[in-house]
């Protein structure tokens, strides 16, 4: 297990000198997810001047509010599209997109699957807490069936997306899932995703006690800690799952690196075209 950098060091290196109080509700998972991203950035040792963050709209946008990265908080759902332009124009940069589940899977679904199809060297980290928290609790594309939300007052009858399956099917070459409970593991897979050359997707199972848990206490629990215990009890690592019986795997969520393969990366392929054209071999 790699060294976990002390928080004071992280604060000094990456945060503004006078940070405000946490903008998140009590028990929210976004703080853990945000910290796991910064710790992963720190661990892989990215040069500060070569890192850019693109952030979508949702509670997750406050993850980076006090960070001193170059960052663009764009229109809702368009993170992968901004990142595609930035990465193509500036291949020297490491580009990380942070999105929510609604941001990435609903309004931004098209950009998400096409970034995966192109296998462009961007890392997409999804804070997946099964609800539109920022707008007050409407159901999203990953909200489990039967959940109660402000827009599903009688129970949700739509099935949810599995981001990892979607990403793999669309062509992402690195796909992993982590949770806010398995924090050190999350830092680890974030780091692997950032270093992977190609489109990396990290689906972070997170908790929203105030907006989701409040209305659905029988699912993951009511409080942040209850919801995280649920993650502990309902997630199984890819490695452990290999040895588990089908009975043990029932109702379990697989965490870990699900896809890690090599395929031509879009930015590099486009540069090859440029070189070919410039040599007059169009």
């Amino acid at each position: 297990m790699a060294r976990i950098t002390p928080l004071s060091e992280i604060l000094e290196k990456y945060y503004k000198p006078k940070i405000r109080a946490s903008p998140f509700c009590s028990g929210c998972g976004n703080g853990i997810t945000g910290q796991a991203i910064t710790r992963a950035v720190d661990r892989v040792g990215l040069p500060r001047d070569k890192l850019a963050m693109i952030i979508g709209i949702g509670c997750n946008l406050f993850m980076t509010a006090d960070l001193t990265y170059d960052q663009l908080v764009g229109a809702h759902g368009r993170g992968c599209a901004y990142a595609t332009g930035l990465k193509l124009a500036r291949p020297d940069l490491t580009v990380i997109v942070i999105g929510g589940d609604g941001d990435t899977g609903a309004i931004g679904g098209n950009h998400f699957i096409h970034a995966a199809r192109r296998n462009i060297d961007i890392t997409l980290i999804i804070s997946n807490n099964f609800i539109y928290g920022r707008t007050g609790g409407q159901y999203g594309p990953t909200t489990p069936m039967g959940s109660f939300t402000t827009t599903a007052p009688y129970g949700l009858v739509e099935p949810p997306f599995d981001f990892c399956k979607l990403a793999e099917a669309a062509g992402a070459t690195f796909v992993a899932r982590g949770t806010t409970y398995h924090t050190t593991h999350l830092i680890d897979i974030n780091g692997k995703g950032i270093l992977h050359k190609g489109f990396s997707v990290i689906d972070v199972i997170s908790q929203c006690p105030e907006v989701y848990g409040r209305r659905n206490p029988d699912r993951m629990g009511r409080t942040g800690s209850e919801m995280m215990k649920w993650m502990r009890d309902h997630c199984i690592s890819v490695e452990r799952a290999k040895k588990a019986s089908s009975e043990e795997l029932q109702d379990k969520i697989m965490i870990g690196v699900l896809v890690d393969k090599e395929a031509p990366e879009f930015t590099s392929e486009y540069r090859k075209v440029t070189q070919r054209v410039q040599k007059g071999m169009g």
Binding site: Q71, A75, G85, A89, N110, Q278
Partner: protein, 356 residues
């Protein structure tokens, strides 16, 4: 250096621009990408622009509709970009034929009602020259700049003498002159344009789509909100001398002045010449910059002519601005055509004669 990034999505009658970029960009070491939709196109343009690379896109009505959210984002985050709108008929898919129906949409589509810049070429030569100008203005003022063309102009072939690259004026965005530790990414005075550092430089930049402080942070005070909203407008309006371009023909002694822009101004020009040949004192005011609107020029024109004839290929858009600018100093007549065809000089001449 000029534009080195283009992102677009196929649409008639604008696709030729994209196809040309697909061929050209690799030749000059730039990047072209065909995105999944026009929302993604303008988003990619914005992404490339924050990386410090001059970027543009082109579209037409239905695609323009999809770009609206990111036009707003480029306005508030002050990200230079150029959008060519090769206008076609609306609403919705309308028809792919000639129209000037987007004149108000480009100005007002984004919530908030801020200033943008729009240039209207009326020849192929001007398409070339004004595209350069559009890129320069977008860099200078960190604002989306529109080149409003149309289905006819978009398919027209005319002679263009491309000047030597050294003869072309190239403007770069204002970049920071202070040290990185003193840099605030949205710091400018009331009519100023903040210095823009590239992403991936020693300067730290934060561009958010919300109203923000001079450091680019969330949570502006009431005063900071008002300051920013006004600055985004006044950085344009305080520099009209650098932005406004107008062509006036025979307006010195004109009694009937025609107001027309883009392709329509060519018919209007022919009509004015024909009227003069018949002894009618006609003239033409052609705004080349349509937004911000050349209010002062129209106001002065209204003071000295007996009547203004506004010709547009829509149901009446810039005629409202002409009415506002003339403030009843001269009677305004509106000549509209919305059949997707070019308006003939004869049709304009007939109306000039009626007004004479």
């Amino acid at each position: 250096m000029g534009v080195r990034f283009y992102a677009g999505y196929p649409i008639t009658p604008a696709s030729e621009i994209m196809e040309a970029f697909a061929r050209r960009m690799p030749e000059v070491g730039g990047t072209f990408i065909q995105m999944e939709d026009e929302i993604g196109s303008l988003a990619a343009v914005i992404g490339a622009s924050v990386g410090g690379v001059k970027s543009m896109t082109a579209t037409s009505g239905p695609g323009f509709s999809l770009m609206v959210e990111n036009i707003g984002h480029a306005i508030i985050s002050e990200i230079p970009c150029v959008i060519v709108d090769v206008q076609r008929m609306g609403p919705s898919h309308g028809l792919i034929f000639l129209s000037q129906g987007d004149m108000m949409a480009i100005k007002w589509a984004s919530p908030g009602g801020n200033e943008i810049i729009a240039l209207a070429p009326s020849s192929v030569k001007e398409c070339f020259e004004l595209t350069v100008k559009a890129v320069n203005l977008s860099e200078r003022f960190r604002v989306p700049v529109f080149l409003v063309s149309d289905a006819y102009l978009g398919h027209m072939r005319e002679k263009v003498e491309v000047p030597d690259p050294d003869q072309i004026e190239i403007v770069e965005r204002p970049r920071p002159t202070v040290s990185p530790d003193k840099y605030l990414c949205k710091d400018a005075d009331a009519t100023g344009v903040p210095a823009m550092a590239d992403f991936g430089s020693p300067y730290r930049t934060k561009l958010i789509g919300s109203l923000h402080t001079k450091a680019g942070d969330y949570g502006p005070s009431l005063e900071e909100r008002v300051f920013l909203v006004h600055r985004l407008r006044n950085k344009i309006l305080a520099h009209l001398d650098e932005i406004l371009m107008i062509e006036e023909m025979l307006t010195e002694d004109a009694e009937v002045a025609v107001f027309a822009y883009g392709i329509t101004a060519r018919s209007a020009k022919a009509a004015v010449m024909a009227a003069r040949a018949e002894g009618i004192k006609a003239g033409l005011l052609r705004p080349i910059t349509v937004w911000p609107f050349p209010t002062e020029a129209v106001s002065k024109l209204a003071e000295r002519v007996k009547s203004i004839l506004v010709v547009e290929l829509n149901l009446g858009q810039l005629v409202r601005e002409v009415e506002r600018a003339s403030a009843t100093k001269a009677p305004i007549t509106f000549l509209s055509q919305v059949d997707g065809l070019l308006i003939t000089p004869q049709k304009i001449l007939d109306r000039i004669k009626e007004l004479n």
